[in-house]
């Protein structure tokens, strides 16, 4: 839902970032307002996942220039956990398995960290179980998953549903979902998309990183951005994703060839 007067949640300006000695992001500009759903598309290696990790504060990526403001404040100076607590959520492309750490305990600690930041009281074990069982319905997960170690032995679809469950518990203001649709069968994709759709509201925003139109058939984006060579090359409405589906990315090469080469 596009509302020009909605609060600006995320403002990325001329963002450059590298991993080790390799520049990946080369001047990303993007503004996200409350209520909006953005889709970020592009070939493998175009910088989509790097952008998501930089926003979440992954220590392997260093920002070399540019800025990211979250609700007007400098996001880049915050530790990853602080970013999460104030409402930035990254749904992982490959959720990490953590043997020995109970999913239920992990979810409770994470939820309480977010609640404390918002000034809400911590939930004890019993109150949290009530909450999590209610949110489980959103992603149609079996409560037995709560008793297992975090993501350990989960199928690809179960891991992605667990990501959306975390999103449902943390109630972020900006949710960045990195290829949440990858590795999902049709039913799992529908469940995940419905979950994301139900969580999207007028006060929050969603950035969907995806390769495929099939997710966007279920979640209609307000904006579609195409990334290439570490920048957003083109921005359009939902029809841009349909165009990509028809034409592929060959036009990207032509457009990049017309542009001056940036020296890193």
């Amino acid at each position: 839902m596009i509302r020009p007067d909605a609060p600006l949640l995320l403002e990325i300006h001329e963002l450059h970032a590298r991993v080790e000695d390799q520049p990946i992001l080369k001047g990303v500009n993007l503004s996200v307002r409350a209520g909006e759903i953005h889709a970020l598309m592009g070939r493998n290696g175009s910088g989509k996942s790097t952008l998501s990790k930089v926003l979440a504060g992954h220590p392997a990526y260093s920002v070399t220039s540019g800025s990211v403001r979250y609700r007007g404040d400098n996001l880049l100076e915050l530790e990853p956990e602080q970013r999460a607590r104030i409402g930035v959520f990254l749904g992982f492309q490959y959720p990490v398995e953590i043997p020995g750490v109970s999913n239920l305990e992990f979810l409770r600690v994470a939820t309480n960290a977010r609640r404390l930041e918002r000034g809400d009281p911590e939930l004890d074990t019993f109150a949290f179980e009530d909450l999590v069982r209610e949110r489980l319905k959103l992603v149609q997960m079996d409560p037995a998953f709560l008793e297992r170690s975090v993501n350990e032995g989960f199928s690809g679809g179960e891991k992605k549903r667990n990501e959306i469950l975390q999103m449902a518990l943390l109630e972020p203001l900006v949710a960045i979902l990195d290829e949440t649709d990858s590795g999902l069968d049709i039913d799992a994709l529908r469940i995940v998309a419905e979950g994301v759709g139900q969580l999207a509201g007028p006060d929050n925003a969603t950035l969907l990183i995806t390769h495929y139109q099939r997710l966007l058939d279920l979640i209609t984006p307000d904006f579609v951005h195409v990334m290439a060579a570490g920048r957003i090359l083109r921005t359009g409405g939902k029809e841009l994703a349909l165009e990509l589906e028809r034409t592929g990315y060959d036009w990207v090469d032509q457009e990049l060839a017309r542009q001056p080469v940036e020296v890193a």
Binding site: H58, P99, A113
Partner: protein
């Protein structure tokens, strides 16, 4: 606390064992400094009989001391542990002996061996004879709160079809030492689960020796040892297959912090008669400090040609991707590290006999405040 070597203790220990303390020139003691043991007062522990108050569940009965002596010797010989220095020390130290026979499905049993604040050497022997198809779940808890030493020799004989779930939970104390030798022989069709969790001792040495007498038995070993400060924890395990179709599933985990030192030597012997043995051994070590040291060595001797024997060893720090995942959910770095560490340890601790839960093994071993 730096260990101060007292010459008279070394001589006294050598006299009890009938041979000098093993030195660094012996391969199986190469990394194990016995200085903490020599800091113990040269006297036998003089507290009350640790088994005086023990009430035995149905299906468990005491064995006549004269018979017990024979069975202990027999058990040590069948597993090849008779010549071990900790065994000889134990035998020379007039150990208190608890000898039990188990028939049928016995109720769980717990033994508490608390050297407490008493000085000197507490020596104990435990003999378990499981009759065919008998089953027992036994938790042995060691404790200490002073500069003293505990020497335990456990001998178990599992009859055909018998099941033993044996747990050793041993949170130590600064300056305290623990020497534990476990000699377990298994008849075909028997199942052994041995779970050991040791941490906080100035010196600990565990010697599990398991022999599948005619193969066709199942052995599951789970171990966790933690070191920090100047502590040293040493496990020398030895599994012998003397018949075909035996199974071993062994996981040995280490947490090494401070300037602690961890030693693991995992011997597996598969002679020619042990065809179709299926054995897997994995050693995983978590190194939390630049000054900590881990020495880990698989020692597989395989002569039979139709077997599956897998082994692996990893030494690593906390996984950065796991830390980031937790941080990205609002969990602070130090809390995330603690969660990961607890999860790492819990993989072993959750396999202790159920009775261990009430002792809060994670808190004990990680020295967390309740």
């Amino acid at each position: 606390m730096p260990a101060v070597a007292l010459p008279d203790t070394a001589a006294w220990l050598a006299d009890l064992a009938g041979e000098p303390l093993p030195g660094r020139r012996r391969e199986d003691w190469r990394f194990t400094d016995l200085a903490p043991l020599q800091a113990v007062a040269a006297q036998l522990w003089s507290g009350p009989d640790p088994f005086a108050q023990l009430s035995l569940p149905e299906g468990v009965s005491r064995i006549d001391p004269a018979v017990a002596k024979l069975l202990l010797d027999q058990g040590l010989q069948s597993t090849g542990g008779s010549g071990s220095w900790p065994v000889r020390l134990n035998q020379g130290a007039s150990p208190t002996c608890l000898a039990l026979r188990v028939s049928g499905a016995a109720a769980p049993l717990q033994l508490a061996l608390d050297a407490a604040a008493g000085p000197g050497l507490l020596a104990v022997q435990v003999l378990l004879v499981l009759e065919p198809d008998a089953s027992l779940e036994l938790l042995i808890q060691h404790r200490s709160c002073a500069v003293n030493a505990t020497s335990l020799v456990t001998v178990a004989q599992l009859g055909p079809g018998a099941t033993l779930n044996l747990g050793v939970l041993a949170p130590g104390a600064p300056g305290a030492s623990l020497l534990s030798h476990l000699a377990i022989s298994q008849a075909p069709g028997s199942a052994l689960q041995l779970t050991t969790a040791v941490g906080g001792w100035a010196l600990s040495r565990l010697e599990p020796r398991i022999c599948q007498l005619d193969g066709a038995a199942h052995t599951r070993l789970r171990a966790l040892q933690l070191v920090t400060g100047q502590e040293l924890a040493d496990t020398h395990s030895h599994v012998q297959f003397d018949g075909p179709a035996g199974q071993l599933d062994q996981l040995h985990k280490v947490v090494a912090d401070g300037a602690g030192r961890s030693v693991f030597n995992g011997a597996v012997r598969v002679p020619r008669q042990a065809q179709q043995t299926n054995a897997a051994q994995l050693s995983r070590s978590l190194l939390l400090s630049d000054r900590a040291r881990v020495d880990t060595k698989p020692e597989l001797e395989i002569v039979a040609d139709d077997v599956k024997c897998a082994h692996g060893a990893t030494v690593s720090r906390l996984q950065q991707n796991e830390l980031f995942y937790l941080q990205s959910r609002g969990i602070a770095a130090d809390q995330a590290s603690t969660l990961l560490l607890r999860g790492y340890c819990d993989e072993v601790l959750r396999e202790l006999p159920a009775a261990a839960a009430s002792a809060h093994p994670l808190q004990l071993l990680l020295r967390e405040r309740p």
